[in-house]
Structure formats: C-alpha cells, structure tokens
C-alpha cells in the first residue's frame, strides 16, 4: 500500500531523514519507534505532504505522491492524525467530524455524513455525549479520540498516527490502543509512530526502529520486543545486566 525508497527530508538545510526505506501492506499495523528527535514526526510529515522539502520515492498504491499537496494526498486515502491532536478547538465535536468528511463530500456530492457520524459515535461513545461541546474543552484522551475519528471520517485506506499516547494517562492509552487494534480488525491499515515502544509493539504486526534519521532495525513486532538492543534502549530493561545477576 505504502512503499518508501531512499526518502530524504528535512527543514531547510537541515537534513533529518537519511535514506529511509520502508513499506506498509494492506491490513497491517506497522509501528515506527524511536527516541525524541529521531525523525519520526518528520517522516510522517514527509509522507503526508506537509513537508515540501523531500527527495526519494514515496509510492501510495503504486502512485508517486512525493510532489503532491497534503490536500491531494488526503483525498487519495492517506490520512494523518497529527502530533498533539490539532483538533479545531473553537469548534464543536460534531463540526470537527463534519470537516473530516470533507474529502468524502468532494468525491460524492450527495454523500451523507450522518452514516459516518453514527459509525464514529459507535466507535467512540464519549464523542456522542460531547457532540455539541467545543473541542478545546475536551480532555486530552477525548481530543485524541476526536482527532482519530476526524481522520476516519475521510474513510482513509491508510491512517497514520503520530504519538497517539502522548501526554495521556496509562488507562486512556490502553483505551486508545484497543481502538487502534479494533480498527485493524475492521480491515484498516495503520501506520503508528510512537515513543512508547512497549505499547506500540504490543499492538503492531511489524515495526521499524528509527535513530537519528535512519532505520536501524526492522522486523515482526514480537522479534523486536525480544531484541536486546530494543529492550535496552526503548523498554528500559538491560538483559545483559539481568543475566549477570
């Protein structure tokens, strides 16, 4: 579904990503884990088109999307749930969701957003309760749910999420990841960028480890979970030290 070859991207003269190659197949959850400043958000920015300055090849469903605008990429079916939620804070929950339906309405003039709204309220019952509330007054977890729901309103083929666990209490993180797993079970494809490696690898099928703009490790999620390097650097366990004891 998504295939990236030798992607280089950055801000102005600063090159953040160096020759990244990766792929996401239909129906799987792929996670990208890495520390702060490793280039995770930059990678999603480059795929979604928010970052203009990029070289290499980004194929989405066999079409090169490297030169397309974010609007076009979203309408092709590749949606991003941005870092820090970015909900329309001065607008109501319902209005946020309706704006998410924009590309559906562009595709089909007679599109009825109500059906999608009901689907989202089914997935996130909390949002139905808060339908008329301003998005800025929601709790962090609710805003994250709203951001995910808003992206899903476009019925994307691939949904990319940037740190959905950021700043949330562990219980809420569990809820959010339960929903991500449910999305995959419903046939969605998810590209998940996370600092919280343990949770992310817990739900993912495959994973990539990114460090200073390069992919240093990749493989099935279980393999990465048991990998010594990953355990030491991202899961806070030092297996070598534990062996000695």
């Amino acid at each position: 579904m998504l295939r990236i070859k030798n992607l280089e991207a950055g801000y102005g003269k600063l090159k953040v990503l160096r020759r990244i190659s990766m792929h996401v197949s239909a129906g799987e959850i792929v996670t990208i884990i890495g520390a702060n400043g490793a280039g995770k958000t930059t990678l999603l920015g480059a795929i979604s088109g928010l970052l203009g300055n990029r070289a290499g090849e980004i194929l989405f469903e066999k079409q090169d999307i490297r030169h397309l605008s974010p609007e076009k990429i979203v309408s092709m079916g590749c949606s991003l749930v941005p870092e820090g939620r970015q909900v329309f804070s001065t607008m109501s929950v319902k209005e946020n969701l309706l704006l998410g339906a924009h590309v559906q309405q562009r595709r089909n003039r007679t599109h009825d957003a109500q059906q999608d709204l009901d689907r989202m309220y089914g997935l996130f019952p909390r949002l139905r309760e808060r339908e008329q509330q301003l998005a800025g007054t929601l709790s962090g977890g609710e805003q994250q749910m709203l951001a995910i729901a808003r992206a899903l309103m476009a019925r994307p083929k691939l949904i990319m999420m940037d740190e959905p666990s950021m700043g949330l209490a562990p219980l809420i993180v569990r809820d959010i990841f339960a929903i991500i797993r449910k999305l995959r079970d419903d046939g969605n494809t998810v590209l998940l960028v996370e600092q919280n490696a343990k949770v992310a690898l817990g739900v993912a099928d495959r994973g990539y480890v990114i460090e200073t703009g390069k992919i240093i490790l990749q493989g099935p999620a279980e393999d990465l979970l048991s990998n010594r390097e990953v355990q030491r650097a991202y899961l806070g366990r030092d297996l070598d030290a534990e062996m000695r004891i």
Binding site: L50, L80, P82, F88, L99, G100
Partner: protein
C-alpha cells in the same frame, strides 16, 4: 441637551457605527483566514459605491447594486489570485505592504475612471429631505436602510459561518490551518473565498451608505481607518465584538459634536485606536492569551 436632540445624536451614531462595524467585519474575515490586515478593505467599499453609481445610469437601483456587489467580489478574487495566492510562505510584513500597495492601486484606478468628483446613489426610498418621525425624533429612511441591511448582513454571515460547510471550512482554516489541510481542505481556496466575501460585504456597505455620506475615489481610506479602529477595539478576528465596538465608536463620535467642533470628529477614532493599542492591544472583548498567540 433635551431628549430629542439626544436621540437624534444617538441615531446618527448608530448609523455610522453599523457602517464601521461592517468594514471591521470585512477586516476580520480576511484576518481570520490569512492572519493579515487587508488595508485595501476601504477601497472595496469605495469600489462598490462607485460601480453602483455608474451602473445606475443604465439599470434600476436594485440591479445596479447587485451587479456592483458581484463585480467587486470578482475584483476581490482577482486581487487575491494575482497578488497573494502564489506567495509560498509570505511574512506578515510583506503581506501588509502588498495590501497597502493594492489600496493605492485601486484608488488611482478609481481616480482615472471616475475622476475626483463626489458621487452618490439616490435615496433608496424617499428623498434627502423626507423623514420618518418616531415621537419627536426624525429619521431619514436611508438610515433605516443602512441599519437594516447591515443587520441582515451580520445575521446572514453568522448563519453562513455556523451552519454551512464552506463557512465551517473557513473557520477551520482560521483555527488550525495545518489540521484543515489534513482534512483535505484547500486552504488557498478558502483565502480566495475570504477576499470575495469581504469585498462583497464592503461593496454592499458602500452602496447603502453612499446616499448619506457620498463617495469619492479616496473615500475608502477614511472608512478603512475607522473600520480598523473598530476591529482593534473589539478584538481582531471577533466579528460580533466588532458590531459592539462599531456602535461604541459611532455613538462616541456623534456625541463628541456636543463638546468639541465637528472638525475634530476623526480625532476620537484615532485617539481610541492609539489608546487601545497602548492599554489593551487584545481589544475590549478579546482575551489576552489569544492576542499573545497572534502573529500580528
């Protein structure tokens, strides 16, 4: 001062106040989607009035006004497309200088097309001397037109922004442009739409007010300063606050005649502008936190 005179001043104040409010709303619409102040806003008002006067020679009044509004909207769109749209990531300063340039350009074009003479549309109903008496207060029917049309315009704008999808999209762009793009909204089209909308309401304001105030090729500048004052006074970007601030300024101006010569009327708005910029730059109804986040 007797009560009749008081009410008479009040009516005059409200009339001017609503016009200032409409110009201020024009500023706010563009400010909200682009983050810039469009200093050519007053020229839209002038252009609308002038075009309507010219068209009125061939067309009945309602048709002339409608065509003038549509023509000004097209001009607004063309201005945005030729001068603003292609700029990749312009700085606020650059955008402001561009809009000042546009305002000078429009003014000079108007001077060449219409000359320096003063023009006006006829009174919509009645004549310059007819009046409607409410008690002892005499109101020109045109005043009712100004207040009526402006109120309808404000209500329609509110409905547009709250209940239609294009209105929502424009608000989305002003709240969070990145998120709007990630929803697949073409933010550049929304900016064009905001220019079209402000040009349209500016032009309509120019038409309804022209029988009372008359218009001239450079009449837009004075209105733009008043409108800008009102926009700042209410809090930039807040259209409902602009209505309140417009009425405040209009009424203050009209009562100032009481204590000082008419010639000093404009001093009021400039002093208020300076005062508010020094004391409370976020405006009477704006929040301090929001003002700090703004680029300009």
């Amino acid at each position: 001062m007797n009560i009749e005179l008081f009410l008479q001043y009040l009516v005059a104040g409200v009339t001017y106040g609503t016009i200032y409010a409409i110009v201020a709303i024009g500023f706010n619409i563009i400010y909200n989607t682009t983050g810039i102040i469009n200093f050519a806003q007053g020229e839209f008002v002038m252009l609308g009035g002038m075009t309507a006067v010219t068209l009125h020679a061939f067309l009945p009044l309602p048709a002339a006004i409608l065509s003038a509004v549509i023509i000004t909207m097209i001009v607004g769109a063309m201005i945005e497309i030729t001068f603003i749209r292609w700029l990749a990531s312009p700085s606020v300063l650059r955008m402001i200088i561009i809009t000042i340039g546009i305002s000078i350009l429009l003014r000079e074009i108007a001077l060449h097309v219409w000359g320096a003479g003063v023009k006006a549309l006829p009174y919509f109903t009645g004549t310059a001397v007819s009046s409607i008496s409410i008690g002892d207060v005499h109101i020109s029917p045109q005043v009712l037109w100004v207040v009526g049309v402006s109120s309808v315009m404000v209500i329609c704008l509110n409905l547009f922004f709250s209940y239609t999808q294009p209105g929502r999209k424009m608000r989305a762009c002003s709240t969070n442009r990145t998120a709007a793009r990630l929803c697949g909204i073409n933010t550049k089209n929304m900016v064009t739409l905001s220019f079209v909308l402000s040009a349209g309401i500016g032009a309509l304001a120019g038409c309804v007010v022209s029988p009372i105030t008359y218009i001239q090729y450079d009449g837009g500048t004075a209105l733009a300063i008043k409108g800008f004052t009102v926009a700042i006074l209410g809090g930039l970007g807040n259209s409902m606050a602009a209505v309140a601030a417009g009425l405040i300024l209009g009424i203050l101006e009209s009562f100032s005649i009481w204590v000082m010569p008419t010639a000093f009327k404009d001093v009021i708005s400039i002093s208020i502008l300076l005062l508010i910029l020094f004391v409370r730059p976020s405006g009477l109804f704006g929040s301090k936190e929001a003002a700090q986040l703004k680029e300009f």
